[in-house]
Subunit: 153 residues, 2 copies
DNA sequence: CCTCAACTGAATATTACTGTCAATAAGGCG
DNA sequence: CGCCTTATTGACAGTAATATTCAGTTGAGG
């Protein structure tokens, strides 16, 4: 329950094959990108597309969208709603890297914070209903100090 | 801080005028709809459009989208990501009605649950950074019992 | 009651994302 | 090792939610 080890190509392959799916070079590359991302960095589909294009490892947008969705549903990635209009993704790290987001609804400035109790509450709530937990995130929508001031104008 | 009283037309007008904005019949109608919604009901933009059409109080989709966004940014409504592809909205009720969502990523079946500690943690986190809190919601992404079974096929 | 800017509605535009389909390549199996 | 099945990919076209534009309308302050 969120305490899964960090994913490797081998564990990804095992989990895919178990369901009759396949490990492809594209999926491996995408997993690697997210694993090497510094803590706090997250990518949109377009970001990832551009980044791979730059690295000469071009992967089609279709595949990127499909892979991001697949990996989110597997619990490997977290789908974040940090800005209007598109999603961001980051690797789903176990405790103690697990964190939450405080988001300014005006400028999208985001601050991360950690909280052990929340993870516990989420785990319990899922357990109680027999749900298999994939991710648990507290989203705080607020107005940052800068935007509070500019609203006075 | 989430302890605001339930909104009335008068308080909505006051808050709008303070910023140079206006109270229009459309905004009043939309506020009323959300206030009369039974607990646990939430509407998408299209839902709201259809519902108003039925009531003979037709409001254009443009205005609906604009109003939902405005009221979310004011903290009157909560923007929920309960299903893929579109948002849902509900009124932002203070404690003890404040709640969170446990969502199946496969079938979107959603269960609500309450938690006082989370509200406290969220309030504190926002305060610490000088953010003005609008809404604070724990989203648990998981697989419901039914979908867990069907995955075995 | 007058003025002016915010607001609405209709139509159009945008864009994030999904579906289709032929070609390709994982992976189980003999 | 090499074959066969079928999941997967990439290119492209399609979709749906949401944003924008703009002319006409209407709140709200003076």
């Amino acid at each position: 329950m969120l305490n899964a080890p960090v994913y490797t190509s081998a564990s990804l392959k095992a989990e895919l094959n178990e369901k009759g799916w396949r490990l492809t070079p594209q999926r491996e590359v995408i997993l690697t990108v997210f694993q090497n991302l510094p803590e706090g960095r997250h990518l949109s589909a377009e970001d990832l597309y551009a980044l791979l294009e730059e690295q000469g490892e071009g992967i089609s947008l279709s595949t990127i969208y499909r892979t991001l969705k697949l990996m989110s549903r597997m619990g490997i990635l977290r789908e974040l709603e940090l800005a209007e209009g598109h999603k961001h993704y980051e690797i789903n790290q176990p405790h103690p890297h697990h964190h939450h987001h405080l988001i300014c609804v005006r400028c999208s400035k985001t601050i991360e914070f950690k909280s052990d109790p929340i993870l516990k509450i989420g785990t319990k709530a899922a357990q109680k209903e027999g749900y298999h937990l994939l991710d648990c995130q507290l989203s705080i929508h607020a107005v940052c100090p800068t935007c509070q001031r500019s609203l006075l104008v």
